[in-house]
Symmetry: C2
Amino acid sequence: MAEREAERSVSQTVRAQLALRELIVSGGLRPGERISELQAVEVTGVSRTPVRMALVRLEEEGLLEAIPSGGFMVKAFSERDILDSIELRGTLEGLAARFAAERGVSSRDLEPLKECLNEIDGLVRQEPISMEAFSSYVALNARFHALLAELSRSPPLIRQIDRASALPFASPSGFVMAQSALPEARQILLIAQDHHRVVVDAIENRESARAEAIMREHARLAARNLRLALRNRTHLDLLPALALISAG
Amino acid sequence: MAEREAERSVSQTVRAQLALRELIVSGGLRPGERISELQAVEVTGVSRTPVRMALVRLEEEGLLEAIPSGGFMVKAFSERDILDSIELRGTLEGLAARFAAERGVSSRDLEPLKECLNEIDGLVRQEPISMEAFSSYVALNARFHALLAELSRSPPLIRQIDRASALPFASPSGFVMAQSALPEARQILLIAQDHHRVVVDAIENRESARAEAIMREHARLAARNLRLALRNRTHLDLLPALALISAG
DNA sequence: TCCGGCGCTAATGTATACAGTCTGAATTCA
DNA sequence: TGAATTCAGACTGTATACATTAGCGCCGGA
């Protein structure tokens, strides 16, 4: 073993999990397609035991589905599933925002959030948003949402949001980048950024109801945009990617 | 192998998972206590491989926590964690109720819910509620909440509710039964049952906002009762049990 | 030609052997 | 006497061998 000397620090299980997740979200395996252990062994380069562990974790994560007769397949999501997931996440994040506002946060805690906001501002200011900028936006947006969840100071809620976010919003694939060329993209991003700003303001002023409402609205906007996007391009393959951009 | 001929139908992994979960929620292992694989092997009677799978699943489920240096320990929950979990579940169930109301359900779909309601009615009618009746109530209440989640027709949401419900509400242990003797128990059950009735009515009449609001209120009542109960008896060991009764 | 049964192959589920590492204690030196 | 270092034990992480089962194709009969 130890064929690859680099990055031997992390466990084989984690490496397998990352590799398989990447394979799934990048579209290397079609939804509904079976994923055999030996196949996974070849892909990841580790033994069957860590591969199995990774598969179990990915199942719990929601990316895989157990086949009754044994083994796993890539989980397939309907359009409705993804729309629901967006609203679900919005609801959870609304609760997180409410908790943050109710519990009260110091301005010191809000600092990272505001930094994030400013960085995003710098990105969306560009007129046609470059693919690189859009890529950065995706990362920053994820960071903002993660920070917001943390602000709730509720481990159970943070955990749940993590679970809810993991799935249909996973892939920063090529499809996503392609979306950045759309003329509406910048508009969506500007509105989403406005939502971000409002929620920070609401939390700062302890307006819990407003904080919760805006995050729900944020999700509703995302869902609406996804629905619109689906009118134009009906490739189901694009769903995860579209969900990502729509989730703003 | 096959030392126990009975129940060879289910896989070793599932058996191990059930046995270990029972061990944890029944209090056989204290929160924070480490659970070694060999120990688990002795308890479950299966080999290390299925035991490991079960441990990973239980970690993803939230009952266990990974120790950085390796292995797992029983997860410890603070009072705040449990209160948050109750509110979290209420929020998710509120969304489920809203989905059900928005999407519209046939009276045929509501039939099982109403049956459940009637059965609970029969139980709470008794003046001092017997331990057996209370035990039945716990089961029926869980059934009601599961049915409600199903009514949302949203697999992602159902899954999430399942996850949120699993944890601090797990153990139907002896402690729970002891609670049934409390004089306030019946009052709590009656109010909770009223909530149940209202949500079914709201869904039937497509009042989505009302359906959502009542489930949130339901959770808030539960949280308040738990807080009150904690004033009297401050044993942290009782938390899961108290959460269960308070979750009504 | 079609249907059914039988056998094979391959993949999963399980068990166990092996290696690396962390913990804890005991011993030794300052 | 205290602290540090080393050694031993155990436990996890990993790899692989074994068994069982499900799926699938082929062959034979109607």
